[in-house]
Symmetry: C2
Subunit: 94 residues, 2 copies
């Protein structure tokens, strides 16, 4: 794909995360970009409610850590499921 064509499929969304505006770009639809932005915003607000004096950078880092935790746990579940499926494919007796 040429660069120009590639650019044509780029979505761009202006989103607000923890009171700051960000221009988020990606090949995904705009509503997807808004969805993940809203998710990060929600996480930051949850953390900030629990620790109102925390500096915004720390709030963002803790949000990233919490999301990374959910991601890694899902990755473990996913890998375990793939392993189970692979095992089921094996002949029981050989």
């Amino acid at each position: 794909m040429k660069n120009q064509e590639k650019d044509a499929t780029l979505s761009r969304a202006t989103v607000s995360i923890f009171g700051q505006e960000y221009v988020v770009k990606g090949t995904e639809p705009m509503d997807y970009l808004e969805k993940i932005s809203a998710y990060v915003d929600k996480k930051m607000r949850q953390i900030s409610r629990k620790a109102p004096n925390l500096a915004p950078t720390k709030v963002a880092v803790l949000a990233a850590l919490n999301i990374a935790d959910e991601y890694k746990k899902l990755q473990d579940d996913y890998d375990a499921m793939i392993k189970l499926i692979e095992e089921e494919k094996q002949p029981r007796f050989s």
Copy 2:
């Protein structure tokens, strides 16, 4: 589980993320906490290398967005796989 007992199973790791120290607590083993911290640190450094003038809060928010993106995509894959497994369980003819 009593609070005291619960506390006894809490891990605590002092980690360095993007040059800042954080005390991360969780019920997971210490090496897990270190693993996800290293992951967030790596993401922030990747973003900062591409945009060296970006403020640390923005670097952290963009890292959170990138991790949320990976998480959501894995979630979609996971859901699709669960759906496939459910469909396979259904009788083909009924």
